[in-house]
Amino acid sequence: MSFEIDKLKYTGKIKEVGFGAKGDVIVGGEDSYPFYMFEGNEGAGVKIAMEVYDRVEDDWAPAAVAPFADVINDPVAWALSNVSKYGADMIALQLAGTDPNGANVGAEEAAALARKVADAVSVPVIVYGSGNVEKDADVLKKVAEACEGRNVLIGPVQEGDFRQIAASCIGYKQLVAATTPIDINLAKQLNILLENLGVSADRMVIDPTTGGLGYGLEYTYSIMERIRIAALVQMDDQLRRPIICDLGKEAWKCKEARGADPDVKFGDPARRGIMIEAVTAVLLLLAGADILVMRHPDSVALVRKYVDLMMN
């Protein structure tokens, strides 16, 4: 018997979304499963957005603080160094400090910071709120306004706050990260609601919600695979969107990454968190991620090299 390569026929293609102030940084456009280059095109390829925080909690792993020690209290400087030192494709500003259960920073202050960061860097910018729907509705509306002209991606835009936030995103021409809790039907439904509201299909991405490695990542993995199958071979137009995975905070939140475990079998605590973040990124890429939001420069460098090996 001789063997013939089996090439799957894809019927769909992921929408291309233009990022950055000029909209010329393309995300998406693939027409096959992730890295199945023997039968399709990878589109624009993987983009890595490096995190910058408005405020860093004091429970961060020492290994995650170390590379940023000199900039950690200055988000603008942090963003600049992520671009110049580590070659970040994008900057993801995390407005964790706006959480009403935390520092509760006000919407104006947060929006002003977002504008400063967006003005400082040349790469595309993503701005994420705290995830608290009431507060995000206020904060992200103001961020959209303040960042007019910068075409930033704003998220998480959820079922509870999409009306307020999406309206501003349309008005001030920002991109929308449609975020749903690890559920393909909810993801589709939110995309439809957003389109009905007037967000065009090439102005949004799907954030499927990311579980941590060893803490539910398998759910995210399968939902993403199902989203891609629906989009590429099952004619589901509403799911043909690029996928963003906000994984840095999930990877570094778990107790193993925070690194206090003294047991030698867990190895070097400084390297462990980096590997947890990198392995998380790899599984998400295999499941279909287009944008990875990551924290540690060493994990980022590793994942970049990995993508290169997968592609070339």
Binding site: M1, S2, F3, I5, D6, F35, Y36, M37, F38, D59, N101, G160, P181, I182, G211, G212, L213, G214, Y215, G216, L217, E218, Y219, Y221, S222, E225, R226, I229, K253, C254, K255, E256, R258, A260, D261, V264, K265, F266, G267, D268, P269, R271, R272, I274, M275, I276, A278, V279, T280, V282, L283, L286, L302, V303, K305, Y306, L309, M310, M311, N312
Partner: protein
């Protein structure tokens, strides 16, 4: 095409003699239809029935075990390309490489690392599963000595890797009836290898470069009635290896292409010199279709994340995202231990239970049925309300287990504490941290609150 269990049943002797290990012919037929067993387990099936059934009774990817006793591993047996379609069945064993050119100290260090790196997590045990021994110098005496030493140091099933027939013979002789996985039979050495395989009954890695060469090699082996075959399609470049893994899995499942109906093996240890990259490659191939993965990195900070990723991918996706409600004792709590409550979203449970464990403060964790919602969602959906919480706490019977009736609720629901004190009579309500990561600090100060 595949027959249903009932269709198969009609062709069986219907005596329910149990010789196949199943209670009835029907049970055996069902298992056969699901591709879990092979027809030759029934010694009584007629020749005509055998011929009719053989096409449908072979599982698309052969499943067999390597090694003996408790540490034996099962490989193959997969029936889907995407885990949500059903589930992945046999997590690929991960083998740690040991070579003849390593020093005694290195070899002992690796054996010790394998023993050491065993991780318990929410009911599952994560660990390495095999040892791969490589004869770098093609020297049968050195190889036999390495096999002997490794067997003394470690009881895991072995892969014997050598390009030298004498070395493989020596290894097999050293391990007696263990049936290690021999690596490899190739188009060049097949004539010589086949007799050794037939005589020893060992499973074997069939290695050939490219699909067609591999296909002919496997056909040669099956013509010699060898069955326990592991496929190595030759590439050591990630992009190509990935393609081969996808193609082989697809051919077996979609086309029932018999020569590729076997588990595969991949060698991240031969694909990069960087241990961190090796782990990313191994995680990729464990997720995308490799049946066995051989690594050379033995550092806990690398191996642990790899084992976590494999655990995630091989978890049954039909497992609900909800944990059974009830009382979960963590550590060995007594009547003075703290009582905490959260919802039955699996991730919430894993994270909270993990943090309590790492605090090393024994506690009672109450998991309340909130239809699998997380705390915030459950609260906003009206499933984590003072009334419902009070009912649930009373029903669990926790009151008879503790002297100090104090209930710690998630920080995100602080605003219900007043109302909860009114509805849950006799209990003191404490507000815990919002983030699970702050639980250890909270519990350590608990005694003083």
């Amino acid at each position: 095409m595949a027959l249903t269990g009932i269709e198969i049943f009609k062709k069986l002797p219907k005596t329910n003699c149990k010789d196949c290990g199943f209670p009835t012919c029907l049970a055996f037929a069902m298992s056969l239809a699901a591709g879990k067993v092979e027809l030759d387990r029934c010694p009584h099936v007629s020749e005509t029935a055998k011929a009719e059934l053989s096409a449908s009774s072979v599982p698309p990817i052969r499943q067999f075990s390597i090694g003996t006793g408790e540490t034996a591993v099962t490989v193959g047996g997969e029936t889907v390309e995407f885990r949500h379609e059903k589930t992945f069945v046999n997590k690929p064993p991960i083998a740690l490489l040991i070579t003849t050119d390593m020093t005694d100290e290195e070899i002992r260090g690796r054996a010790a690392a394998v023993k050491e790196m065993v991780y318990d997590r929410a009911g599952a045990t994560l660990k390495l599963d095999m040892i791969a021994l490589k004869d770098t110098g093609n020297n049968s005496d050195a190889f036999r000595a390495l096999v002997k030493k490794s067997r003394e140091l470690c009881n895991l099933p072995m892969i014997l890797m050598s390009g030298n027939m004498d070395s493989l013979r020596a290894g097999v002789a050293e391990l007696q009836d263990e049936k290690p996985l021999l690596c490899s039979v190739t188009p060049d050495n097949a004539e010589e290898m086949i007799p050794l395989l037939k005589e020893s009954g060992c499973p074997v890695v069939a290695r050939a470069d490219g699909y067609d060469a591999l296909c002919s090699l496997v056909e040669k082996l099956t013509a010699a009635e060898l069955k326990d075959i592991v496929l190595d399609s030759g590439s050591r470049k990630l992009k190509k290896t990935f393609e081969e893994q996808v193609q082989i899995r697809r051919a077996a499942l979609r086309k029932a292409f018999r020569p590729f109906g076997y588990p595969t093996i991949t060698f991240p240890c031969e694909m990069t010199d960087d241990p961190a990259m090796e782990i990313l490659i191994a995680a990729t191939l464990a997720a995308k279709y490799s049946g066995i993965v051989v690594i050379s990195c033995a550092a806990g900070e690398n191996v642990f994340p790899l084992l976590l990723s494999r655990m995630n991918i091989f978890t049954d996706p039909q497992r609900p995202m909800a944990t059974d409600p009830g009382i979960y004792p963590i550590g060995e709590p007594d009547e003075n231990s703290p009582v905490l409550i959260t919802t039955n979203f699996s991730l919430t449970y894993f994270i909270v239970a993990g943090e309590i464990e790492s605090a090393r403060v024994p506690a009672w964790l109450l998991i309340m049925d909130c239809e699998g919602y997380s705390v915030l969602t459950a609260w906003s959906a009206g499933k984590f309300t003072p009334d419902l919480i009070s009912d649930f706490v009373k029903r669990t019977g926790i009151e008879s287990k503790v002297a100090r009736k104090a209930l710690t609720i998630p920080g995100y629901t602080a605003h219900i504490s007043g109302e909860l004190e009114d509805t849950l009579k006799g209990w003191e309500i404490l507000v815990g941290p919002r983030e699970a990561s702050h639980i250890p600090a909270y519990l350590k100060n608990y005694g003083s609150s």
